[in-house]
């Protein structure tokens, strides 16, 4: 079999195999010590990183996640190896910044990014499934705007050095974490964030980033492509992710179909639906969910890097302003953040509709 099939994956079979690998790996990290259904969650991990960098001070949500740093480096190396590391930007950095911020806040109200919605569903969580339904509804609504000609201004080529800042920072932080240990990473047990061993997390992160970059893995993007172009290859990767996660959960005893006993979840189903509907809608308008924004930023897209900066800032504010939900339920500040996110993305969609 030609290695090109894996370096430049296009077939549904290879994309499904990659999705299954990511799904199994994500559940594996939860088995190794991450919180339940949180083997891979870009938004939760960004909240943890924000805490480790001092943007908030909740100990139990502070940890310089090696997975996030690994994703950045893995995507950077994969893009470089595939000659796809192209530094560009200046198209819509402000829209990406605020869009990224609202997407992160929506994820925190739901408690998880679109990938965690898959993992929560794979654990038998009904609230996860409701969130996933909201995500799909939001993406389908966004495709109406894409059909009407919505597009953001195209980025332009920029000097290569600018694209090396994020991978360089990730490398430095990962090296310091490896050298100095958990005191630097900000997760000193017993009260710090739950996590899998450092080496396993970093290795998994590298793989997530590399595979994510080569396959363009994106939950929202796969729904968009299926709805717009009737092309189900990307969706086969997402479906394989879900099925593999269910299979591993069944094998490890992590599958428990129950609404009220879903770990870390709340039972405000309306807000779970609406929060991820806003995330799905917004993610299509700014070209990607939190994981995809990270991968794009690591491949030289500085507009996506602005989105990552917005997400990181919002991650800190989410804790400081009490926006993020907890098992006790959704907070008033969280509800307002979701509704303002809807207003922001509706305005953005209307503004950039039918652009020549």
């Amino acid at each position: 079999m030609s290695p090109k099939r894996f370096l430049y994956p296009e077939s549904a079979a290879v994309l499904a195999a990659a999705g299954a690998l990511l799904g199994a790996l994500a559940v594996g990290l939860a088995v190794l010590g991450n919180p339940a259904s949180t083997g891979l969650c870009a938004s939760c991990f960004l909240v943890n990183v924000a805490g480790a960098l001092g943007l908030h001070a909740r100990e139990s949500q502070s940890y310089l996640r090696p997975v996030i740093l690994g994703i950045v480096l893995g995507a950077f190396f994969a893009a470089s190896a595939g000659k796809e590391f192209r530094v560009r930007g200046g198209g819509s950095p402000v829209r990406h910044f605020f869009g990224g911020a609202f997407i992160l806040l929506g994820c925190e109200v739901f408690i998880g990014c679109p990938i965690k919605a898959l993992l929560r569903t794979a654990g038998g969580g009904a609230a996860g499934l409701v969130g996933l339904s909201g995500l799909i509804a939001g993406v389908l609504f966004a495709t109406a705007y894409l059909r009407e000609g919505f597009s953001l201004p195209a980025p332009r080529a920029l000097p290569e050095g600018a694209g090396l800042v994020l991978p360089g920072a990730a490398f430095l932080l990962l090296a310091l974490s490896a050298g100095i240990g958990e005191s630097f990473a900000g997760s000193g047990f017993p009260s710090g964030a739950r996590h899998a061993p450092f080496a396993a997390s970093a290795a998994a992160g590298l793989l997530f980033g590399a595979v994510g970059q080569r396959t363009r893995f994106c939950v929202t993007g796969s729904v968009r492509t299926a709805a717009l172009a009737r092309d189900f290859r990307e969706a086969s990767g997402t479906a394989a992710f879900l099925l593999a996660a269910i299979a591993v959960n069944l094998f490890t005893g992590g599958f428990a179909p129950a609404l009220s006993l879903e770990p870390g979840a709340h039972t405000d189903l309306f807000w779970a639906f609406l929060a991820l509907a806003m995330v799905g809608f917004g993610a299509i308008l700014v070209n990607g969910c939190p994981f995809r924004q990270l991968v794009r930023a690591s491949s030289g897209d500085l507009d996506a890097a602005a989105g990552v900066a917005g997400m990181l800032l919002a991650a800190g504010l989410s804790v400081r302003w009490g926006i993020g939900s907890s098992p006790a339920g959704v907070t008033p500040a969280g509800k307002i953040a979701v509704l303002l996110g809807c207003v922001f993305f509706l305005a953005l969609a209307a503004w950039k509709r039918k652009v020549d």
């Binding site: 939760c44 001070a57 408690i111 710090g192 009220s260 804790v319 009490g322 969609a349 209307a350």
Partner: protein, 139 residues
């Protein structure tokens, strides 16, 4: 989705925008929109809860448990967890301990079977809250 285009899309978007703004304003006016105090936000988890109240709730829960009143025990444990989430965090020194964890699982199992003695709807809600709080989250 072709049905959503042109003026219909514009109208729906306008309605959604208006509803979202009205909803946000309504929640801001009527919701309990208190931001954490700046000092508390800086201290984060280190912010000290009212330990006397937490201890009192835990003591009441223990007494109710011994007396076989599962519903009251769960209500007091929930009150304690709301005051100080660390009491249901297995990583924290303030954690109620493996014995509490085992007892909670027994009560949930009894509730699933529908047996008496494990409380009614509120008790199920309290047990589920404690379970979700103990095992999940973003950190």
């Amino acid at each position: 989705m072709e049905i959503l285009s042109g003026k219909r899309l514009t109208l729906l978007a306008a309605l959604l925008t208006a509803a979202s703004l009205a909803g946000a304003l309504g929640i801001a006016a009527t919701g309990d929109l208190r931001l954490p105090m700046a000092a508390d936000a800086r201290r984060g988890d280190a912010a000290k809860p009212d330990t006397a109240r937490v201890s009192a709730e835990i003591a009441l829960a223990g007494e109710a448990s011994v007396a076989g009143d599962v519903a009251a025990a769960l209500a007091h444990y929930r009150a304690a967890a709301l005051l100080d989430p660390r009491v249901v965090d297995p990583r924290s020194p303030a954690f109620l301990g493996p014995a509490f964890e085992a007892r909670l699982k027994e009560w949930i199992a009894a509730q699933k079977k529908g047996g008496g003695g494990a409380g009614g709807t509120q008790a199920r809600s309290d047990a589920a809250f404690l379970f979700r709080r103990m095992y999940g989250g973003c950190g």
